[in-house]
């Protein structure tokens, strides 16, 4: 291992790694949300925010692979579903206590991530995309075929038991409890991704490999090892989010793998902007709330979300996170949008 700090200055390019002082801002925002939790009494608003927190984890973990490590990973929702299914099957079929099941489900998803990453990370970019997306597409039929092992088939699994910590039962009705659990899980996960991993030498290696793989390799960065690490870590956090989601909603069905969830995740990254903190996290909030507001649109909701992806990518290719830069230096707009030839 002879990688140097030179990698970062030369190759990190557009990536804005969070500045040192932003730790304080980050935890202030988290604390503000914690305080807000005490003030919000409407259970629907609480529910939407819980979903926002869980989605933050999914979006941030995806941003780690797709945005920072430059791995074309489209198995994100498949991994989320794996976490949800693992914990549901462990608690319902084997009677494992929820906390142990969530831990196990997180580990299982990380291993699954490793198993997906091992064959495909040696491939060139687009093949990774195709392979991971085909994992996503193959999952619903596999769940159906593995019905005998307790996946519940198309019906899914109902009645995933609530979590019990310190004598408190976190059932679907205990919104306050879930609010703090989800907030804590999201705050820690997002912090680990953006403030610990991506600021470390490992994180700089991810970015260096994304921006200039040959140059990074020539500096002695082990491409395969680092990409494997990024993928596995991302899978771990995604599995954790999936397991929490399963216990929160108490239902796990193959609907997770349907159009809606993957579309939501894509919109989050598209709107937020990939590889730019806090883009993905911001996107998770905006899109989850937007999705709830669009409930009345019925079948048109997914169409609207799809159109939104296309329009944001065309009009604001770097997402919401780039708005700040644009507003700060309006003259430098050359870089952000190219109007073709």
């Amino acid at each position: 291992m002879t990688e140097t700090h030179a990698t970062m200055t030369s190759a990190s390019g557009a990536t804005k790694s969070p500045a040192r002082g932003s730790d304080l801002i980050y935890w202030s925002v988290a604390a503000a949300l914690a305080v807000a939790g005490m003030l919000i009494t409407d259970s629907y608003v609480q529910h939407v925010l819980i979903l926002c927190f869980l989605w933050c984890m999914v979006a941030a973990a995806w941003d780690l692979t797709l945005g920072y490590a430059g791995i074309f990973n489209y198995a994100q929702i498949a991994l989320f579903a794996a976490g949800a299914y693992a914990t549901a099957m462990l608690t319902l079929k084997l009677g494992v206590p929820p906390l142990a099941a969530i831990t196990a489900a997180t580990a299982i998803t990380a291993l699954l991530g490793l198993a997906i990453a091992l064959p495909c990370l040696r491939l060139q970019g687009e093949y990774v995309a195709l392979f991971t997306f085909s994992v996503h597409l193959a999952m619903p039929p596999l769940i159906q075929l593995a019905k005998g092992w307790g996946t519940g088939g198309t019906m899914g699994l109902l009645g995933v038991p609530p979590i019990k910590i310190f004598g408190v039962t976190l059932g679907p009705m205990n919104k306050i409890g879930w609010y703090y659990l989800a907030l804590a899980a999201a705050a820690v996960s997002v912090y680990v991704i953006y403030f610990i991993v991506l600021r470390s030498r490992t994180g700089r290696a991810f970015v260096a490999l994304r921006d200039s793989a040959n140059f990074a390799r020539s500096l002695g960065i082990n491409e395969f090892k680092y990409r494997l690490l990024a993928f596995t870590l991302s899978a771990l956090i995604t599995g954790f989010a999936g397991a929490l989601y399963a216990h929160y909603t108490s239902v796990v069905t193959p609907k997770i793998l349907g159009n809606e969830f993957i579309l939501l995740a894509i919109v989050m990254l598209a709107i937020g902007g990939i590889g730019r903190f806090p883009g993905a996290v911001l996107g998770a909030f905006v899109v989850t709330i937007l999705n709830e507001l669009l409930r009345d649109a019925g079948t048109y909701r997914l169409l609207i979300l799809g159109i939104l992806v296309v329009l944001t990518l065309l009009l604001l290719p770097q997402g919401l996170a780039s708005l700040k830069d644009r507003l700060l230096r309006p003259s430098g707009k050359r870089k952000t949008r190219n109007t073709g030839e």
Binding site: F131, L263, Y300, N338
Partner: protein
């Protein structure tokens, strides 16, 4: 045994159509270096448009519908390239954004089709009924016709790519964009053209397969994935390779359906994809140029 041959023949006929889809996919991936996730959605859209033109609403005869369908599809493809992909191409990290935009488009098409035509699959009548006897085995006449049409289309493409100046330009761009630009080829025009051509190919494949599979809003994902496995196995830019790979995989699929049942199709294709990628890890190309292109 009789039944096995019928399944086998069905597999071959479908494989021929998959090879058309695969050639279109590999043309776009080869020239514009874009993986088009909306390709399956465009397949379905092509089938729906032909349904609207014929039995659905307008009641046109099939030949007229095909004559209308081809320019419509070509125009759609050119428009996607011109207005959705070209603006992204110069941006940073454009491969990810291009992939996201086509995935977004795929969901737009899926849901638009769902809203317009409903979740119930639409039947499309075959233009030939009955069976034909080959070596004493009765096979569906429609499947035989599909096989012949698909092979003719692939042969025409082969001729176009190898015998015409424009076809040479397409191949030149596929080999080396910079070099093609230097010898005066309008690269953007080639991108638009191949994109349009690929949409025509996938849409026509949708039309050909719709009497066999029916038309449903999400029915395009499976052909898309299959086409990519074929491209990976057959080698990029090689129409003959695509045909050979398509036939091999079509036979595998027929055997799987016969032995295990249709629900195993997707998992088996996934395993095939995995194996193919393990055997040819750098993808079909093995030219290691992606870095320069990105």
């Amino acid at each position: 045994m009789e039944q096995f041959f019928a399944v086998l023949f069905g597999g071959i006929a479908q494989a021929a159509v998959y090879s058309i889809i695969a050639v279109g996919l590999s043309l776009v991936y080869g020239t514009a270096r874009t993986l088009n996730f909306a390709y399956g959605g465009l397949y379905t859209t092509g089938a729906y448009i032909s349904w609207v033109l014929t039995v659905g609403y307008l009641g046109l005869p099939l030949w007229l519908a095909v004559l209308l369908l081809i320019p419509i599809l070509f125009f759609i493809g050119v428009a996607i390239e011109r207005f959705m992909l070209r603006p992204l191409r110069r941006g940073k990290n454009w491969k990810v954004t291009a992939m996201m935009v086509t995935l977004g488009l795929a969901f737009v098409l899926d849901n638009a089709n769902l809203i317009l035509f409903g979740a119930v699959a639409k039947p499309m009548p075959a233009f030939i009924d009955g069976t034909v006897s080959i070596f004493g085995v009765a096979v569906s006449a429609y499947r035989l016709a599909v096989l012949i049409i698909a092979l003719l289309i692939v042969a025409a493409l082969e001729l176009f790519l190898n015998r015409t100046r424009f076809g040479w330009a397409v191949r030149a761009v596929a080999q080396d964009i910079q070099g093609a630009r230097q010898v005066g080829i309008d690269v953007n025009r080639i991108f638009s053209f191949t994109f349009g051509l690929s949409v025509v190919l996938t849409g026509c494949a949708g039309l050909l397969l719709s009497p066999i599979f029916l038309i449903s809003p999400q029915g395009g994902w499976e052909p898309f994935l299959k086409a990519f496995v074929i491209v990976v196995l057959g080698g990029l830019g090689s129409t003959r390779g695509a045909v050979a790979a398509a036939f091999f995989l079509g036979l595998v699929e027929a055997a799987v359906v016969y032995e295990l049942g249709a629900s195993w199709t997707m998992p088996v294709w996934l395993v095939t994809l995995l194996l193919v990628l393990m055997i040819r890890p750098q993808g079909l190309l093995g030219r290691g140029q992606t870095e320069a292109a990105g």
